[in-house]
Symmetry: C2
């Protein structure tokens, strides 16, 4: 039986990390956007072998346990101990790993949903296991709960699924322009001195956004956050300023990746594409993904 899941890519606009001894009370406040591209997970399960094996592959290539710690830890919790057979977890990512698109959480949540679908469980428990693995192995703090909410999300109470609270903004007909340029280590940023500035600026941004909860305001606050924390600077900031000349809502920095994102609509889409093409910079345009991740059998019983 082949089970698949889709989990949207999630871009964080601004955030406040919240740590706690209990991983389910650890999380983040902040805001972000879910995209119609993201992580697809396919789980293939074969019985009739003599041992219990779990394999994980990223984009078609098997990965070692130490390079997929989060997914393996989720799988170890959800594949019953007494299960004999081969469990293959194939994860495909529409964006590169480490670029700030929530791939790690997408893989964890997609793995948890597909395995729970197959071996038993519920959405909430699957999501909690994915969140805990993310927190313990420092993949991220708020991506799982944000991906569950969909749309343009605002984390108003920190914590994992069932504890944290996520709100959503109304957003009309925007598309999302993304400019993925490279990696930033969430771990290194969260271990550095910048954390104090992130906490102060993130809290301010959240308060201001809730006073005026619109997508345009979110982008302006995201930009303020990115500049004031010093995370957005140098060439990336220059590129953001170039981009802003052809779009009406400020662009901002993908938290945390070396990259930019912006809300675009109408003619701005083509103007922005032209500019980025002229500059020789990679980009993608996606829709905003609404609703929950998807999970189900590859072929339903009554498929046409």
């Amino acid at each position: 039986m082949l089970v698949r899941a889709f989990v949207p890519a999630h871009i964080t606009a601004f955030f406040v990390p919240v740590f706690h001894d209990d991983p389910l009370k650890t999380g983040s406040l902040g805001a972000g956007i879910n995209l119609t591209k993201g992580t697809n997970v396919f789980v293939s399960i074969e019985t009739g072998t003599l041992e219990r094996h779990i394999h994980v592959a990223f984009n078609g290539e098997p990965v070692k346990r130490e390079n997929a710690v989060i997914s393996y830890s989720v799988a170890e919790r959800l594949v019953p101990e007494g299960f004999i057979g081969e469990v293959e977890i194939w994860q495909y990512f529409d964006f590169p790993n480490g670029y700030g698109f929530g791939n790690s959480a997408g893989g964890a949540l997609g793995t948890a949903l597909t395995l729970s679908y197959r071996f038993g469980g519920t959405w909430l428990r699957a999501a909690q296991i994915a969140h805990e693995a993310e927190v313990r192995h420092r993949g991220g703090l708020g991506d799982v709960i944000a991906q569950l909410a969909g749309g343009i999300e605002v984390r108003v109470k920190a914590g994992g699924p069932g504890i944290g609270v996520v709100d959503n903004l109304f957003f009309g007909d925007y598309k999302v322009l993304v400019v993925p340029l490279g990696k930033l280590s969430t771990r290194e940023v969260l271990d550095g001195d910048v954390v104090k500035a992130i906490e102060a600026e993130g809290s301010k941004a959240l308060e201001k956004l809730l006073a005026e909860p619109t997508p345009e305001r979110m982008m302006a606050l995201a930009r303020e956050f990115a500049e004031k924390t010093g995370l957005l600077s140098g060439e990336l900031l220059e590129l953001a300023r170039e981009l802003d000349k052809v779009i009406s809502t400020p662009s901002s920095m993908i938290m945390l990746g070396k990259g930019l994102f912006a809300l675009v609509r109408g003619e701005e889409v083509e103007s922005a594409k032209r500019l980025l093409t002229d500059l020789g910079v990679p980009y993608d345009v996606t829709e905003i993904y609404e609703g929950k991740p998807k999970v189900g059998r590859w072929f339903e019983g009554d498929a046409k």
Copy 2:
């Protein structure tokens, strides 16, 4: 500007009412199913008049304030006091009012979402206002938060949006057969002696479902709940038994309406339809609605 929303119909399988002085802490525990049919709300707003007017219509017919107390109270909170113009709220229901399909919550939530989309606000605040109106005017306790969750939902912590916690079951390729036969007053049932039995049986059912969280188990527990509370009896119980002869998962009673529902798949769908047609009983078959309600402009800026 015309704004529309779709909110799924919601059938409660079993429940435990939870009352509190704070409407946001009032709610229910239990389980239920969201359907691809439900409530469509269209809001039309015209400025250029001299006064602030709010009108509500059900299925194309204007209704008096006292017959749409919940929708009017939601609208009064969300249309700004200083707004001058005509606000028309058109609600269309796929199932009859009072039959246990969550129309009241669907109208409240659809109204709150469309007006928030137009006048400003967020999903969570809109949903909380709808929930509060439902609780205050006793339309229902758990429909709003269940409709926000979609799918087959399990309310594991009582309360309104942002307070209550809703889990979801995995469910494969089931359709939902509904047999809507008449009204039952939620208000009268909740004021009667049966409440004690509902609390006891509902709590037991929830505990058992969480120990074995599958759609089949939910239906078996719903049926046990319906019979043990005495809500399902007489002719309706006889009809449920007839229906059970041609389907594999037990049917149960719509809480709270004079009606039945069942999960069906494959050839069962036609067998059940044949039986109900032979018996001259009205029925409908719908899909399970996954994800959040929808809200947006009737025509998007870049619609094709």
